[in-house]
Amino acid sequence: MANKDFVVRFAGEGGGGLVTSAELLAQVTAQVGYHVQTYVTFPSQIMGGPTFAQARISTDPVLSYGDDLDVLVAFDREAYDTHQEEVREGGVVVYNSEDFQLEADGKSFGMRIDELAKSTGNARAANMVLLGAISHLVNMPENYLPEFVTKRFTRGRSGDEEIIKANIMALSLGREEAKNSGFSLGDLADPMPPRGDQIMIKGNDAIAIGAIAAGLDLFVGYPISPATTILQYMERNLIGPGKFVYQASSEIESINAIVGGGFSGRKAMTSTAGPGFSLMSEGLGLAWMAEIPVVVVDVQRGGPATGLPTKTEQSDLLAALHPAHGDVSMPIIAAGTVEECYHAAILALNWAERYQGPVILLSDHALSEQAQNIPRFELDKVVAEKRKVYQGQNGYERYAGIGVSPMPIPGGPGAYVANASEHDGVGDTTHLPNRHIDMTERRFSKLKLLEEDAVYERENIDERIAVMTWGGSKGATREAYNLMTSEGSKIAWYYTMQLNPLPPKLLEELKEKDLVLIPELNYLGQFSSILRSKGVKAESITQYDGKPFKVRDLVKAITGRVQSHDKELVQV
């Protein structure tokens, strides 16, 4: 039977080469209609350090980055030692024999990668030598790669032809080498191309495009891994009449600047990661208190403090819910896939406009760097909401009553003071007990507006035990769920991006369950603790090693919890 799915990892010393190799492999296979997903991890340094990048190629949509390796490309000894255990039974290791030698072990073969590249006259063709070798190992039709290379390097420049020739030569050299090694992984099943136009995009770019599609006007941010590429996308593109983008001097400046921008009538956003998010706490309180629409994207990394800047974790949920002192409850949208990054950004801007206050969008390191084929965004389907703007006379009480009220914009009527202190209707500071009661209730009442478009996923809803993950663990959890239910497991599936406020009906359904299992990448079990506080019998399945879940581990953990739950029932 032909292979429907394979995973290739490139490992070695850091630098762009490994990532480029994985992304090229993803590109070439996506172009002929396979589904792909890449995964990258690297140390927090500019050059060098142990890095790996991998691509998973499948005939079906790819949900996770892949538990086991079909092919490991090891550029040095350390990479081989670190990763060879993850190569599956029957998998192949291609190693750089210019760097080290291995005894024949029935699964590895060496290639003089750079030497082969140089022999083509183009020393930069090393990636192509490898792709050629891989194409033999998985028995890829011979025409895919040369066609891809021809398309990629036809750029209307005088040297195009020479570059194409060298790269095609590199492909066939690699292919020959692999063929001579005698290794093969069998045939690759024909692709089942997805319908409609596809794009290959990473989570952070999808967030940036979603925000711009929703009408973002003003972006101020500070470089921080793994959120920086959002800032960079904005710096390149958020320019034009009425638009403004700037690199701030700190996250404190970022958050206060977007509050100023929101106050002046603009759709304003910043992006950051844990340490920056902590610095934004007080400013988020200001936006909540003064009722100013802003969006803060937190691309989570390992924490606390400086933590693990280039590893993934989902440990900012509690901080996102209550980032600031005093009574606050921040609206939170958590993206679970690259595609959801786009939709989450649109929803976040819409929510901010609708309820006139701050909204947190949570993503994570793994999503930020993960390239994936997804349907092309349908920009004409975007509904971009706009806040209600006050158009009446002066002498307006901007903060009167319960619920959201039209917001005056500087330059227009209804001058008021947007006040971080407790205030009366016009925004003057007050300390009266009744005012604080009324204003506190007013601020919380607005959250109701965010339940209007509550959506969530539900399957097998009659089962007593449910699995409900959140954020970037969605893919691996879904793959585990699919595997388990296909083998007869009796579990329900629930999922939503809207973590606060939770869709009320979802909450009602969850409360009915005997057990709700929450896979999440943190130590505390943050989401399950929130659900338990709302009366759901929730338990977390946690992992906190800086890496995403493996499907196999999830299947094992979920099965174990289900079994011990069943055992308890019998004992009762």
């Binding site: 996506a30 136009d197 596809q198 794009i199 290959m200 995009i201 495009i209 711009i212 599609a213 006007d217 003003l218 390149r236 593109n237 320019i239 034009g240 009449p241 638009k243 403004f244 700037y246 701030a248 001097s249 700190s250 404190i252 400046e253 970022s254 206060n256 600047a257 509050v259 100023g260 921008g261 929101g262 106050f263 002046s264 009538g265 603009r266 007080e282 400013g283 200001l286 092309r376 965004f377 920009l379 002066n394 005056p408 500087p410 330059g411 227009g412 009527p413 001058a415 008021y416 003071v417 947007a418 006040n419 971080a420 009366d424 016009v426 925004g427 003057d428 500071t429 007050t430 300390h431």
Partner: protein, 288 residues
């Protein structure tokens, strides 16, 4: 708040210098509005935390927009307001604690950017609202509730700091001279770039420095403040350094850079120069 708001219970102490600053701001804004035919709602007052920040609630007459934010963050908020809508006139009201202590980190970046806002800093060399603790401009050795054995750090020289950080318009005023101060604030608002009007605004409750500043011939106290000489060239940075090195507190425009472009002008220039793909084309760049 144009009429008396019975619910608003904040009051400046009788004799507070901030009354004079408030009057000066009202005069300057009114003059500017008439001069350029701008409505009051085109003005935004960004207030910090402290006695000075409460000015935003105490203005008489037609009301500008206001934003009374966090302690120390007037400049970042003003940055967002101004770049959100460069047509607005943005005025910061802050004090020595809010602007120079907790907010000090924000001065340098806005100076380099030359953000076109005007900051009016009310310096009383004391934390008034928290009842008399030492501030960055409190002099060395001063006994306050937070320096009971005398302050053991030297006083910050704000004008010198502004000049060193590259602020492009620096003026020095005195709350007891509201007409002159109004003129300085008006000039600062007129200036296309980052302007600071640093005002001696004494606190009669915790640190009454009126006499020290104005002097008292009977008590043989020489005045600390003096007007900058009529022939002083405020466009010469070297002259400004020399002036500040002489001691005392000169009143007037200390320095103005006649050539600097403001941030919104620079940003607009870049915007007009670069060609940005429309969003559909941006998405298209990711096509497989």
């Amino acid at each position: 708040m144009s009429k008396k708001n019975p619910e608003y219970d904040f009051k400046w102490c009788p004799g507070c210098g901030d009354f004079g600053v408030k009057r000066s701001i009202e005069m300057a804004v009114e003059k500017r509005n008439i001069q350029i035919e701008a409505p009051m709602e085109n003005n935004v007052v960004v207030a910090g935390i402290g006695c000075s920040g409460n000015l935003v609630h105490l203005l008489d007459g037609a009301q500008p927009f206001g934003i009374h934010g966090l302690h120390g963050r007037t400049l970042p908020v003003a940055f967002g307001v101004k770049m959100g809508n460069p047509d607005l006139n943005v005025l910061i009201v802050s004090g020595d604690g809010d602007f120079l202590s907790i907010g000090g980190e924000h001065i340098a970046p806005q100076a380099q950017r030359n953000l076109d806002v005007t900051a009016v800093i009310m310096d009383n060399a004391v934390y008034g609202l928290t009842k008399g603790q030492s501030s960055p401009t409190t002099i060395f050795g001063e006994v306050t509730p937070s320096t009971p054995y005398g302050k053991i750090e030297s006083a910050l020289d704000p004008l010198d700091v502004y000049l060193s950080l590259g602020v492009n318009f620096i003026a020095s005023g005195f709350s007891a001279k509201p007409r002159e101060l109004a003129e300085l604030i008006h000039q600062a608002m007129d200036y296309k770039g980052f302007s600071i009007v640093h005002v001696q605004s004494p606190c009669p409750t915790y640190k009454d420095t009126f006499e020290v500043l104005k002097g008292n011939a009977k008590k043989e106290i020489a005045p600390l403040v003096y007007d900058v000489p009529k022939d002083y060239d405020s466009t010469d940075k070297q002259k400004a350094r020399e002036l500040l090195g002489k001691g005392g507190i000169p009143l007037g425009v200390i320095y103005q850079n006649p050539d600097a472009q403001s941030l919104d002008q620079r940003f607009r220039e870049v915007s007009q120069k670069v060609k940005i793909r429309d969003l559909e084309a941006q998405v298209g760049a990711f096509a497989i």
